[in-house]
C-alpha cells in the first residue's frame, strides 16, 4: 500500500518516528504557529496540532495545520467530538483533506468543564471510536456516516487515536485500544509516559493481543518544565501517573528545565527499548523550544526522511503561503537564531518580565501615592522637614559597598551600567503617575540631601520602597489623623447613593486564630469582608509576616539574600534573634528542612534541639514547619510539640495522609496547625473537615493553599484563594472560614530568576528578588492571605508598608 502520509511512510519503513505537539495560540496570530513549526522543522516527522485542548478556545487545528505545512512541516490534525456534530465533522474533514492534510488524530476531547467556556453545550454526538469508524467509512468505502455515497475525492487520512495506559480500569485500557484499532486507528499516541513500568506492562498486553502488528504505537513524552508543573500533573490531571521519583528529581535539581529535558530523554531511551513502540510523540507544552534539544540528545536527529517532507505539501499550499511570508519577512530570521542556542524560551521570559514590569509599575504607582501622602503629612506635621528617622538605612548601604569587591566576576564599573539602564524604564513609567509626579520628585530630592554619600542610592528608584518603612512608623503613630485627611471615605464619594448599592459585607466572619502565647501573641483572621474592603466591613487584624529561618545552613540561596544573614546562617537561634532584633520580625518560622528524608534526613532530636534553642532566643510567636514528608513530619512534630507545649506555636504542614496523628498532637498541646492542600478549594475544605472530625477546632487551623510564586502559578493560587474566601464569606461555607497562611519566601527564592545575575533585561538581581517576593505576598494579601512566611528583610519591609497603607484607608 502506498503510504498515506509522510508520517505513515516513516513508520511503515520501520523508522522510529518522532512527532511533536503544537498548541495554536488564543489569537488570530498565525505567526505564532509558524514560529513553532519552524522550531520543530527537521526535528520531527510531523507536528500534531491540538483542537482546542483542555476545551480552551484557540485557533482551529485545521487552519493552524495549513500554516504549519507552509513551513514545510507535515501536520497531524486533532479532531475532538466535543464541538461539532457529525455534519460539522465530516464537512471539516473533507475541507482538511482538500487542504492537503494527511494525518488525523481522532479523540473525544476534554470536557468543556475544564476550559474557558464551561457554560458551553458539549456536543458529543459521536465518541472517538465512532469518529474513527466514520472517517474510515468515508475513506475506504466512500460513504458518509448516513450511508450516502461520497462521490469524487475521498479524504485519504492516515488515522490515529489516543490511548491512556494509566487510566482505570487498567485491564480494559488495552481492550479499548483494540476497539480503536478495529474501528480504524492506524497509529496511536499514548498519554504522557512517566511511569515506564506501567507502560511496559501495557505494551506487553498490547503485544499479546497482536495490536502492535496492527497499529504503530507512539509513546507520549512531556518534558516537565518545573517542579510545579510536574506536581500539578500528578495531582490535577486525571489519568496521568507521575511517580514520586520524578518529582523528587525536579525538586532537587538546580536547573529544573535541564532536568526536565534529561527526564524526557531518559524516558525516550527507555520506551525505545520496549518492543512494539514505534516512535514518540513529544508534548512540550508551551515549550516547543525544548523539542530539538530532546530529539538531538535522544539520538533521533537527523530524521531519516527529512527531505521528502516538503514537496507533497508545499505544492498545494505554497501560493497562499508565499504571500503571507512577504508580509512578515523579518520573522524568518528570528527563529533561526533562537532555537539552537537558547535553553529558555525567550517568549516565556519576555512574558514573565513584562508581567513583572507591569506589576512593578503598579507597585510603583502605589508607592508614589504613599510617598505623596507621606510628603503631605510631613509637611503638615513638620513644616516640610524630612523625617530623619532612617537610621537602619545607612548600615545597609555600607554593606553593599563592602560586597562589591567580593563579587569578583564583575568589576564594580560593570555593575553600574545595568543599574543605570534599569532606571530609564522606571522613569518612563512615571508619566503614567501623572498628578502625583511633582511630589515624589520633590521627595526624592530631599532624600538625596539627607544621604549624600552614596550613588547606588539612586538605584532605589525601585528599592526606595525599602526606605519608606522608616518614615512609615512615625506615620503609623498618627496614622488615622494623617490619612483620614487624604483618604476620602467611600461613603463620602458615594454620597447620595443608598449604601446597600455599593456595600456588600460578608455574611460571616473568618475565624480568629491566635498565633503564639503571651505578650507578643497576635491574632489573624477575623474579617467579614474581602481583603482591605474596609469601607464595607471589618478586618480586625492586619495581615502579618513571619520571617523564615532554617534548621540547617541553606544551600543554593542567592547571595542577594544570604548577605543579610551571613553571620548567622549556621545558627538557627542567632538567625532568629537577628530576624527579631535587627529586622523587627513579628514571628519566626522554623523550617525543618534538614529532617527531610530526601535531604539530610536529620532525626527528630535534631529538630527538637533547634526548636528549643530558637524558642529560648526569641520571644515572638513561632511557626514550626516540617519537611513536608507526611510520615517523617509526624515523628518530628510530635517531638517538637513537646518542647513548644507551654510556649505555643503553630505546627505543620498537616496533610490528609497525616491529619489524624499530627491533629492529635496539636490538640494534645493546644497548638494551631497549618493545613496544607494542593491548590484546590474542595481539597482545602475536605482537610478542614477531616481535622474537625478528629477534634481540631476550626479556630486552630490555618489553611495553606500551596502557593505559587510570581511567574510560577501565582494567578492560579490567587484565584483558588479568592474562591475559598468568597465561599467562606458569602456562601456560608463555614468549613472554609479559616485564615490563610502563605509560605511565600520558599517559593520565590527557589525560582531561577532570583539567582540570575544582574543584566539589562532582568535588571538588578537583588531588586528583582525583593520585588518578586513582595509582589507575590501583596498579591496574595489581596486574595485573602492572613499570615505570610517570607525571607528577604527588604521584601518584608516593602510588603508591610503596602499592607499598612491599605489598612489605613479608613
Amino acid at each position: 500500500m502506498e503510504p498515506r502520509s509522510h508520517l505513515h511512510r516513516v513508520l511503515s519503513e520501520g523508522h522510529f518516528a518522532v512527532t511533536a505537539e503544537i498548541g495554536p495560540p488564543k489569537s488570530a496570530d498565525g505567526e505564532v504557529v509558524r514560529r513553532k513549526a519552524r522550531i520543530l522543522k527537521g526535528y520531527v516527522d510531523a507536528a500534531n496540532i491540538t483542537d482546542c485542548q483542555t476545551a480552551i478556545v484557540r485557533m482551529s487545528s485545521i487552519a493552524s495545520a495549513v500554516l504549519v505545512m507552509a513551513e514545510g512541516v507535515e501536520s497531524v490534525i486533532q479532531m475532538t467530538c466535543r464541538d461539532r456534530n457529525r455534519i460539522g465533522m465530516q464537512a471539516d474533514l473533507l475541507g482538511a483533506a482538500a487542504l492537503g492534510i494527511r494525518n488525523l488524530l481522532c479523540i473525544t476531547g476534554d470536557h468543556q468543564k475544564f476550559g474557558n467556556h464551561p457554560e458551553a453545550k458539549g456536543v458529543f454526538d459521536l465518541d472517538s471510536i465512532q469518529l474513527l469508524a466514520m472517517v474510515r467509512g468515508m475513506r475506504d468505502e466512500g460513504k458518509f456516516l448516513c450511508g450516502e455515497e461520497l462521490t469524487g475525492a475521498r479524504p485519504e487520512f492516515f488515522l490515529g487515536a489516543a490511548a491512556n495506559p494509566f487510566a482505570d480500569p487498567f485491564e480494559f485500557r488495552v481492550k479499548r485500544l483494540e476497539k480503536k484499532i478495529r474501528a480504524g486507528a492506524e497509529f496511536i499516541q499514548t498519554q504522557i509516559v512517566y511511569n515506564v513500568e506501567r507502560f511496559r506492562k501495557f505494551m506487553e498486553m498490547a503485544r499479546d493481543l497482536g495490536l502492535t502488528e496492527k497499529a504503530y504505537i507512539l509513546a507520549g513524552i512531556t518534558p516537565p518544565k518545573s517542579f510545579g508543573m510536574a506536581r500539578y500533573m500528578k495531582y490535577f490531571v486525571p489519568g496521568l501517573d507521575v511517580p514520586d521519583e520524578i518529582l523528587k528529581r525536579l525538586k532537587e535539581a538546580k536547573d529544573k528545565r535541564e532536568e526536565g529535558i534529561n527526564i524526557a530523554v531518559e524516558i525516550i531511551q527507555q520506551v525505545r527499548e520496549i518492543p512494539g513502540v514505534a516512535g514518540v510523540h513529544i508534548m512540550a507544552i508551551e515549550w516547543e523550544e525544548a523539542v530539538p534539544e530532546i530529539v538531538k540528545r535522544a539520538g533521533l536527529h537527523p530524521r531519516p526522511l527529512e527531505a521528502e517532507v516538503r514537496s507533497p505539501i508545499a505544492v498545494e499550499v505554497e501560493k497562499p503561503v508565499e504571500r503571507v511570508e512577504v508580509l512578515a519577512p523579518p520573522s524568518e530570521k528570528v527563529p533561526e537564531e533562537v532555537p539552537p542556542k537558547l535553553e529558555i524560551p525567550v517568549e516565556a521570559v519576555k512574558e514573565v518580565f513584562s508581567t513583572v514590569r507591569s506589576s512593578m509599575e503598579a507597585l510603583r504607582e502605589g508607592i508614589n501615592l504613599l510617598h505623596d501622602s507621606l510628603a503631605r503629612l510631613e509637611r503638615a506635621l513638620l513644616g516640610g522637614e524630612v523625617v530623619p528617622e532612617e537610621v537602619p538605612e545607612v548600615p545597609r548601604l555600607e554593606v553593599k559597598v563592602e560586597e562589591k569587591p567580593v563579587a569578583e566576576e564583575k568589576p564594580p564599573v560593570e555593575e553600574k551600567p545595568p543599574i543605570e539602564e534599569a532606571r530609564p524604564p522606571a522613569e518612563e513609567a512615571k508619566p503614567e503617575v501623572k498628578e502625583e509626579k511633582p511630589e515624589p520628585e520633590a521627595k526624592k530630592e530631599e532624600k538625596v540631601e539627607a544621604r549624600v554619600e552614596e550613588k547606588p542610592e539612586e538605584k532605589p528608584e525601585e528599592v526606595k520602597p525599602e526606605e519608606k518603612p522608616a518614615p512609615a512608623p512615625p506615620a503609623e503613630g498618627v496614622e488615622l489623623g494623617g490619612f483620614s485627611g487624604e483618604y476620602r471615605p467611600l461613603s463620602e464619594r458615594a454620597a447620595g447613593l443608598p449604601e446597600d448599592l455599593y456595600k456588600e459585607p460578608g455574611t460571616a466572619f473568618i475565624r480568629e486564630v491566635e498565633i503564639g502565647k503571651g505578650e507578643k501573641a497576635f491574632k489573624v483572621g477575623g474579617t467579614n469582608v474581602l481583603p482591605f474592603h474596609l469601607f464595607e466591613g471589618e478586618m480586625r487584624h492586619e495581615p502579618r509576616i513571619a520571617m523564615e529561618v532554617l534548621d540547617v545552613k541553606p544551600e543554593g540561596w542567592p547571595e542577594s539574600l544570604t548577605r543579610y544573614f551571613a553571620d548567622v546562617l549556621d545558627d538557627p537561634a542567632a538567625w532568629a534573634k537577628k530576624c527579631v532584633e535587627t529586622y523587627g520580625a513579628e514571628a519566626v518560622c522554623i523550617y525543618l528542612m534538614g529532617t527531610d528524608p530526601n535531604y539530610l534526613n536529620l532525626d527528630a532530636k535534631h529538630a527538637r534541639e533547634v526548636v528549643e534553642k530558637v524558642a529560648e532566643a526569641v520571644d515572638v510567636p513561632l511557626i514550626v514547619w516540617g519537611a513536608g514528608h507526611a510520615e517523617k513530619d509526624v515523628e518530628v512534630l510530635r517531638e517538637v510539640a513537646e518542647v513548644l507545649g507551654d510556649r505555643g506555636a503553630v505546627i505543620g504542614p498537616v496533610e490528609e495522609a497525616n491529619h489524624r496523628t499530627i491533629g492529635a498532637t496539636a490538640m494534645g498541646y493546644g497548638l494551631p496547625v497549618v493545613a496544607s492542600s494542593p491548590i484546590d478549594v474542595n481539597l482545602a475544605k475536605q482537610l478542614n473537615i477531616l481535622l474537625e472530625n478528629v477534634g481540631v477546632a476550626l479556630d486552630k487551623i490555618l489553611m495553606d493553599p500551596s502557593i505559587g510564586a510570581l511567574g510560577y502559578g501565582l494567578e492560579y493560587t490567587y484565584s483558588v484563594m479568592e474562591r475559598i474566601r468568597l465561599a467562606a464569606l458569602y456562601a456560608q461555607d463555614d468549613k472554609l472560614q479559616v485564615p490563610f497562611i502563605c509560605n511565600v519566601g520558599r517559593e520565590v527564592w527557589k525560582t531561577k530568576e532570583v539567582g540570575l545575575p544582574s543584566d539589562d533585561l532582568l535588571g538588578d538581581q537583588e531588586v528583582r528578588g525583593i520585588l518578586m517576593e513582595a509582589i507575590t505576598s501583596v498579591a496574595l494579601a489581596l486574595a485573602g492571605g492572613d499570615l505570610f512566611i517570607m525571607r528577604h528583610p527588604k521584601a518584608i519591609e516593602l510588603t508591610r508598608t503596602i499592607i499598612r497603607g491599605l489598612m489605613q484607608q479608613n
Binding site: 469508524a133 487510566a167 480500569p169
Partner: protein, 223 residues
C-alpha cells in the same frame, strides 16, 4: 420521576410583579414526591411571595391549591373557574404542567414556580440523582442496566474515556465513572465481551432532536 427544584424567589417575584392576586398551584405528582411542588412547598412559596411583597410595600394576595396532577386535562379542569379570582397562576408542577395549562387556558397567565431539572431517583433522603435522559432508544440491555447517556458527561458509548481514574469521573470526582461501573458489572458476570462490540453512532432523533416527541396508541383513543 421528574425532579424539580424551587425556582429562586426573586425570579418568581419578578414574573408576578404586576399582579396583586396570584394563585400558587401545586401538583401531587413527581414534584410533590421530590419535595419541590407539593402542598407544603406551595404553602412556603405563597408565604415567601407575600412576605417579600409586603416588605416592598405592595402586598400580595395569594390563593393556594394543589391538584392531583397537572399533566392531565381532567385534573386541570377546575382551574378554569378557580383562576378567575386571580390575575396570574404560579404553577409548582414541572414544565409539563405549566405547558398544559398554557395550552388549555390561553387566557390564564401562568408562570413557573419550579425549575424542572431531570429524571431521577431518590437514593437517600434529601438526595436525587439523574438516571435516565429519555433518549428514546434504550441501551441499558447492553450496559448492565447503567445508562452512559444520562450518567457519562460525554455520553460515551464505547467505554470509559481517559479521564476515568480510580473509578471516579474526572468532571466531578464525587461522581462514580459509570463506564467503570459498567465494566465491573459485566466483568463480574463474565460478559466483558459485550463491551468489545462496536457501538455505532446513535440515532438522536428519538432523544428529541427530531422535534417535540409524541406517542400515540390508537387502541386507547376514545371515539
Amino acid at each position: 420521576m421528574i425532579i424539580a427544584e424551587r425556582r429562586p424567589i426573586p425570579k418568581v417575584l419578578k414574573a408576578i410583579e404586576p399582579y396583586e392576586r396570584v394563585l400558587v398551584l401545586g401538583c401531587r405528582g413527581c414534584v410533590a414526591v421530590c419535595s419541590a411542588g407539593g402542598d407544603r412547598e406551595v404553602e412556603t412559596m405563597a408565604a415567601a411571595l407575600r412576605l417579600a411583597r409586603k416588605l416592598s410595600g405592595r402586598p400580595l394576595k395569594t390563593g393556594e391549591a394543589t391538584f392531583i396532577r397537572q399533566c392531565d386535562p381532567e385534573y386541570l379542569a377546575p382551574l378554569k373557574d378557580m383562576a378567575r379570582e386571580y390575575e396570574a397562576v404560579v404553577s409548582m408542577a414541572c414544565g409539563v404542567g405549566v405547558n398544559l395549562i398554557a395550552d388549555l387556558f390561553p387566557e390564564i397567565r401562568v408562570y413557573p414556580g419550579v425549575d424542572t431539572t431531570f429524571y431521577g431517583a431518590n437514593p437517600a433522603l434529601g438526595e436525587w440523582q439523574e438516571k435516565c435522559r429519555g433518549c428514546g432508544d434504550c441501551i441499558l440491555d447492553v450496559t448492565g442496566g447503567l445508562c452512559p447517556i444520562a450518567r457519562c458527561a460525554k455520553n460515551l458509548l464505547n467505554g470509559p474515556c481517559g479521564g476515568s481514574q480510580g473509578g471516579r469521573c474526572e468532571i466531578r470526582p464525587e461522581v462514580p465513572c459509570v463506564w467503570h461501573q459498567i465494566y465491573e458489572r459485566l466483568s463480574a458476570r463474565g460478559e466483558l465481551d459485550r463491551l468489545m462490540n462496536f457501538f455505532p453512532a446513535k440515532d438522536w432523533r428519538p432523544a428529541g432532536h427530531g422535534g417535540p416527541r409524541e406517542r400515540v396508541r390508537e387502541d386507547l383513543k376514545m371515539g
